[in-house]
Symmetry: C2
Subunit: 200 residues, 2 copies
C-alpha cells in the first residue's frame, strides 16, 4: 500500500482512489494544460464523482500542486513579492524564491526539477506550473503590454531556474553557498530588467 | 563490444583499454578536479602507459571532453567571443552558446545537462568543465579583480544554464523557439552586467 502523507487538513482518503485521481490529473494537466483541464474530466477519467476530487484534494490549484508533489502555494507567497517598491520587485522575487528552496520544501522542488529534466510529461507539468501558478500571478499585477508577457515571463524563468540548477543541483560555488543578500542584489536587477525593460 | 565513434583523427584503439582510461579519467577529474588530475595518475589507475593515454585521447583537455562526451572545444569557440567590442561580449557569448546548442553537438550538451541533474559525479564533471574550460577562459581575458572572478563566473553560469534548461530541456515558449537575435539582445546585457558591474 502506498504511504499517504497528509500535507493539508483534508482527508487522505482511499490510497487507490487518490492515486487514480492523481494519475488522471497528471494526464489532463500535461495534455490540455492547467486552464483547459477540468475537475469534471479528471473525475470521469478516474471513475469517481467530481465531489470526491474536491473532497480529497480541494481546489483545482491544490490538485495541480499535488500532481507535481509541491507543498508550496505561490498564491500565498507572491503577494509579498508584489507589495512594496516596484523597483525592488526583482530582489524580492529572488529572496522569496530562495526562501522556498532553502526551506524543507526545497527538496520537493529539487526533485521536481530533476524529474522534469528527464521526463517529458513532468517537464510539461513544470511548464504549466511556472506559467499559470507563478509567472502569470506576478505579470498580471504589473502594468505591462499583454503581448509581451510570455517573453518577459520566460526570460525570468531562465534566470530563476538557472539559479536553482546552479545552487541546488549542480552546486557551483560560490553561488551554491552565497547568502540570499548577495544573490538578491546581483540577480534582482536582472529580473527587474526582464519584467520592465523595452524588448526587441 | 562497445561501438567506438571516432570524433577526432586519433586512433580509437582497443575499446576495453579506451573504456578503462575513460573510467579512470572520470574518477580523477571528478574527485581531484581538472587542474589537479594528471595523465600520469590516470594512466596508472587504468594500468596503461601515459603515452597510450595521449595516443588515444590527445591532450588532458581532450581527454576531459571525452569523459563528458562533449564534442565541443571551447578553446576554438571562445576567441570569437572575446574579439571585438567589449560592450558586446555578453551578446556574443549568448550567440556562440546558442550556435553550439542549436547544432548537432547540442544533443550531447542536453544529454550532459540531463545526466548532471541526476548524477553527482557527472555534476562534478560539469562544474569542472564550466569553470576550467569555459568561464576561466573568458574571465582571464578581461581586466577584472581576480578575487571577484568566481562569483562573476558562477552568475554567468546561472543565466546560461538556465537558458539551456528552458530552451532545450523544459522547452518553455517563447524562449524555446525564440531567434538567437532575440535571446542575444535580451540576455546579453545580463551577462555583460555579471562580468563587469560592481559586486556587493
Amino acid at each position: 500500500m502506498t504511504p499517504v502523507i497528509r500535507r493539508t487538513g483534508r482527508r487522505p482518503g482511499n490510497p487507490d482512489t487518490r492515486e487514480a485521481i492523481l494519475t488522471a490529473a497528471r494526464s489532463a494537466f500535461a495534455e490540455r494544460g492547467f486552464d483547459a483541464a477540468s475537475i469534471r474530466q479528471i473525475a470521469t477519467a478516474a471513475g469517481v464523482d467530481p465531489a470526491l476530487v474536491h473532497h480529497y484534494f480541494g481546489s483545482k490549484e491544490e490538485l495541480f500542486r499535488a500532481t507535481i508533489d509541491i507543498p508550496i502555494d505561490p498564491a500565498v507567497l507572491l503577494p509579498a513579492v508584489l507589495a512594496g517598491d516596484p523597483d525592488q520587485i526583482g530582489e524580492r522575487l529572488v529572496r522569496t524564491f530562495l526562501g522556498v528552496w532553502d526551506s524543507p520544501a526545497g527538496s520537493a522542488a529539487v526533485a521536481l526539477l530533476r524529474s522534469a529534466t528527464n521526463n517529458e510529461w513532468t517537464a510539461r507539468l513544470l511548464r504549466e506550473f511556472l506559467v499559470t501558478q507563478v509567472l502569470r500571478r506576478v505579470l498580471d499585477q504589473l502594468d505591462l503590454d499583454p503581448a509581451e508577457l510570455p517573453l518577459r515571463g520566460a526570460l525570468v524563468a531562465t534566470q530563476m531556474i538557472g539559479l536553482a540548477m546552479m545552487r541546488y543541483v549542480i552546486r557551483l560555488e560560490p553561488v551554491a553557498s552565497a547568502t540570499p543578500d548577495t544573490l538578491a542584489t546581483t540577480l534582482g536587477p536582472t529580473i527587474h530588467r526582464y519584467l520592465t525593460a523595452p524588448l526587441p
